[in-house]
Each structure stands twice: as C-alpha cells, then as structure tokens.
C-alpha cells in the first residue's frame, strides 16, 4: 500500500492571536489570481473572479507577505499578528 503523503505545511507551530492581519478589499480585487498562485500555504482561492482568503488563514499563514507583495491593485492589506503570536519557527 502506498504511504500516505504528509502535508508538510501542517508542520508549522502557531500561537493564535486575536487580530485580523490580512484585509482584502473585494471592490479593488481584479481577480488576477496572483495571490492564489504565490501563497505557499495555498490560503487563497478564486470564486467568481474575486480572490477569497481562507477563513482560518490566521491559524495557517506564515506571514511571508507574498500575497500583499504581488497584489497590483492594492486590494490586499497586510500587517502582522500582534507581538508574540503567529508563526514560530524553531528550526529555521
């Protein structure tokens, strides 16, 4: 039987914060899909020509800022979860 493949992305430690740190302005979103292509955690998807971020993004996001960086219509606003929360890397 084939070994079941592990999703490595589950191997990230998070301390859940309380603030929303990614804001997405649907009105500005052009549905170009760049955020969908770049996000290493695959937290974005396109529905009816608009990007949507997973509702549980704060538990998975690794705060790389890629989605914010590639958004040419500035529909994505990115900050950081409050100090001491979010991703914690022990073996970076």
């Amino acid at each position: 039987m084939a070994e079941k493949e592990i999703d490595l992305r589950k191997m990230v430690k998070h301390v859940r914060g309380t603030v929303e740190f990614i804001h997405h302005d649907k009105a500005r979103c052009t549905g170009c899909g760049r955020c969908v292509n770049i996000c290493p955690m695959e937290l974005w998807e396109l529905k009816k020509s608009k990007a949507f971020i997973s509702p549980d993004y704060a538990e998975k996001c690794v705060e790389c800022g890629s989605c914010w960086l590639v958004c040419e219509s500035n529909a994505i606003e990115f900050s950081y979860p409050e100090g001491g929360t979010g991703v914690i890397w022990e073996y970076g």
């Binding site: 992305r9 770049i38 955690m41 690794v62 705060e63 890629s66 900050s79 100090g83 914690i88 890397w89």
Partner: protein
C-alpha cells in the same frame, strides 16, 4: 514619550549588529522584535559565510550548535530525475584567510544565531523589547522619520531609526522609501527542515565530510539540501514574478515533488530523516544595485535594504555588515546634528564603498546567470547531456577513438548553444572582471604564431 538616540526595528542579524554597535558608540538604543524571542520569525537562511568569522571577531567564540560545510556538490538530473552528472568540490586553496580555506559555510539554526546576536546587543546595553510589533513610522511635518509607533499606539522617538525588519520591510514602505519590490527583485523560498540522528549522519556522510548539495533538472528550479546540526533543510525558490506569470508552478507543489523525487527520497531514507518543520519566506534577490536605502531619520539594513548577494542570495553577512555601518553613521550624524536625508546620505556612500557595493557592482550579471541557468529548468535539458558526455572518450563501449569521434560530434551539435551560453552569461562576467574575451583569444593566437617559446599566456586587461 520615550526618547532614544537610535530605534532599531527587528532583532535579526542586521538589527542586532546595529544595536550592538550603536551601544558601543555610546548611543541610547532600543530594539523592537515582533517575535516573543529573537529568531522566532526567522525562517531558514542558515548558512554563515567564512567572511562573517573574518569580519566579526566575536563569532569565533560563539557556542551554539553548528555544522561546518566542507563540500559543495552539483547534481545534474534528467527529466526522469536520474542523476547523469555530478561534481563535488572543497574550498579553494586560493582562499585568502583561514576560514575561506577551511569551509564554505557554517550552518546553524536561526533560533540559536539570532538569540546569540541579540544577547550581545543586550550585553552592550541595548533595550530589547520583544513581542512588540512596530506598525508605523513617526514623521515630523517635513516627512523626516522621528521614531516609530507600536501596535499599542505607543510612540517611541529616536534621532535615527534603523529598519532591520526583513524582506517585507513594511517600515520602508510606511516611511515612503520604497514601493513594493518589483517581481524580478524578490524571490519566494519554501523549505522543509528534516531531523536525522546525528550518529547516522556521521556514519553515512562522515563527520568531516558534510556538504551542501544543489540538484538541477528540467523539472524545477534548483532545489538544495543544506546539512544542519540535527539533520538538513531541503528547499527551493524562484523569483516572485515567475510564480505569478505562470512560468513556475505553485511553490509548495515544487517542494512536494522534490522531496518525493528519487535522489531526495533516497537521501532522506538513508539518513532515516523525518520532516519536522515547514518554512516559507520572501528573499530579496536583486539584479540591480539597491536604491533608497536611507531617508530623513531612517536607514534600511539587511534584507530590508535588499542586501542579499545577487548570485545565491546570501544575506546574513551583508545584514550584519550594513547594520554595523548604519550604527556608525547614526553616531556620526547624531553628533554632527544632521540626521536629515542629506546627513544620512553618508550611509549610502559607506556601503557603496564597502564590500556590499563591490558585490552589487556585478548584480545584473550574477542575477542573470542564476535566473537564466539555475532557476531556469528548460536549460538543463541542454546542459546535462553535454556534461554527461564529458568523459565519453574514456568509455569501454567502443575503441576510445570511436568514442571520441562520437563525443566531438555531440559537442559540435551543442556548439551554437555553448556559444550562446558563453555570450549571454560568461562574457558579461568576464567584462566585469576586466577580461576582454575576444581580444584575449586574438592575443593568444598571435603569441602562438610569433613566439617560439610559447609559454606565458596573458589575458588582456582593460584599462
């Protein structure tokens, strides 16, 4: 309102060196770090270059888990991911200081290294405020940065602010120094930490033979294996613009396939390694000289400034080096009373006249080499067969002269590609090294015809 001489944002290698140096120069310094502990937010980027040990004496006494990397290897794989050519080398005897002759890099976990450096900054007198996010720059009516605002709304004033807040550097953006990075200026890296028993690593690899490996193939952009004190990292990256334009596949998809590929799977199994932690981060990789690294009251250091080497994006040394320069400039400009953009221009002059400036003098050529070859998988369907046939003449398949004829035929077919390769990637670098390829070849030919001694070949150096 709290008031400091220097406000540092980010306790990575750049921020901690800036803070340590500023304190040693008598400046009242605070460092903000958004992680609960320094290193919490540092995702890979683990190799310390020999020049770190040359330029920063205190690293010689560093007592953290580390692994000296004494070999490098390049593995060329075909479209079935079978290895067709491999080369492995040790540090050059031309190394001009002991560390350069001894190892390529020392691999450490950033958790340990960042805490070591932040500890030195604290010992020097810096106030370290961890678990605190800086959310904006404070500015005066002229737009000069006068400090920062924290997530709690606290305003902290500083004569000089040093942004060491990494590749994303929201502070550079908020201070108005930079728009977002361009798609060809920054890469995204995905990486997985594997844990392996050290006895097994020593047994299989040899305690003195640790090496880092790069695997090239027509399938994905040059993944690497970097040996670590408790195992290794496997990762790969690509310019952001290539992910968004459809040139490259999704980053995680690449990593997943790399890890399940034959050579990697074999390596992982042999070392009885287990995946332990996933990493992803942005990394500036500039095909040009960084600009806008300072403004009124603010300087950018390390990744925030774009200071990662344009060939392989090594950034820790340049972060530490630029952090130190920024602190020295802060001390001088605070003392002279001019921390405006005109005063802090000194920072740009200093780094441009340092080894950072020297590195970026060929930024375009090095980045193009990497973008055109290593991060350009289709090239390897042409390069690997040429490399694979390098030793065909020695084969026992046929009489050696028959083998050699076959080899010559293969290489003559590959000649247009080789010429194009040299013209696109090698010649620009030779020009930057003041070697004029065509004139050198002409002179070589002329000397061959004219001299009877036929010894001593000189390359023509341009004035």
């Amino acid at each position: 309102m709290a008031k400091y001489d220097v406000v540092v944002v980010g306790a990575g290698p750049g921020g901690s060196l800036a803070a340590k140096t500023a304190c040693e120069l008598g400046l009242k310094t605070v460092v903000f770090e958004r992680g609960k502990k320094p290193g919490d937010k540092s995702s890979s980027g683990c190799g310390l270059a020999p020049r770190i040990f040359r330029d920063f004496d205190f690293t010689k006494e560093m007592d953290i888990p580390s692994l000296k990397i004494k070999y490098q290897s390049l593995h060329m794989l075909d479209e079935n991911l079978d290895e067709r050519f491999m080369m492995r080398w040790s540090p050059s005897d031309l190394g001009d200081y002991p560390e350069a002759r001894e190892f390529f890099q020392v691999d450490v976990y950033r958790r340990d290294f960042d805490r070591f450096l932040a500890g030195l900054a604290s010992e020097a007198g810096a106030e370290l405020r961890t678990g605190t996010v800086v959310v904006n720059a404070l500015k005066d009516s002229k737009g000069q940065v006068t400090g920062v605002v924290t997530e709690k709304g606290e305003k902290v004033e500083g004569d000089v602010t040093i942004a060491a807040d990494g590749a994303v550097s929201l502070l550079a953006y908020q201070a108005g120094l930079r728009e977002k990075w361009k798609p060809d200026e920054i890469t995204l890296l995905v990486d997985c930490d594997f844990q392996a028993p050290r006895e097994r690593m020593d047994e299989i690899i040899g305690p003195e033979e640790y090496g880092n490996q790069v695997f090239v193939s027509p399938l994905y952009p040059a993944p690497y294996v970097a040996m670590m004190p408790e195992g290794f990292h496997v990762g790969l990256g690509q310019w952001v613009g290539r992910f968004t334009s459809g040139f490259a596949e999704k980053p995680y998809e690449y990593l997943r396939r790399v890890i399940s590929s034959k050579p990697l799977k074999r390596f992982i199994d042999r070392l009885r390694a287990k995946p332990r932690e996933f990493h992803a981060h942005l990394l500036p990789w500039m095909p040009r000289v960084p600009t806008n690294t300072y403004g009124g009251g603010i300087m950018l250091v390390g990744d925030a400034a774009g200071f990662a080497c344009p060939l392989e994006a090594e950034g820790i040394h340049y972060a530490m080096f630029s952090g130190k320069i920024a602190a020295e400039v802060a001390a001088e400009t605070i003392s002279s009373g001019d921390t405006s953009a005109a005063g802090l221009k000194l920072y740009e002059e200093r780094w441009k006249n340092s080894i950072i400036g020297e590195e970026f003098s060929a930024a375009k050529e090095w980045a193009e080499l990497w973008a055109g070859i290593f991060f350009n998988p289709p090239q390897w369907s042409k390069i690997t067969p040429l490399a694979n046939n390098l030793m065909l003449w020695a084969s026992w398949a046929n009489p050696h002269i028959t083998n050699l004829k076959k080899q010559i035929s293969r290489y003559s077919q590959g000649l247009p590609f080789l010429m194009e390769f040299i013209k696109s990637y090698v010649q620009p670098l030779l020009r930057k090294s003041n070697v004029h390829l065509f004139r050198s070849l002409m002179k070589l030919g002329w000397m061959w015809l004219k001299t009877k001694k036929r010894k001593g070949i000189e390359l023509i150096l341009e004035e």
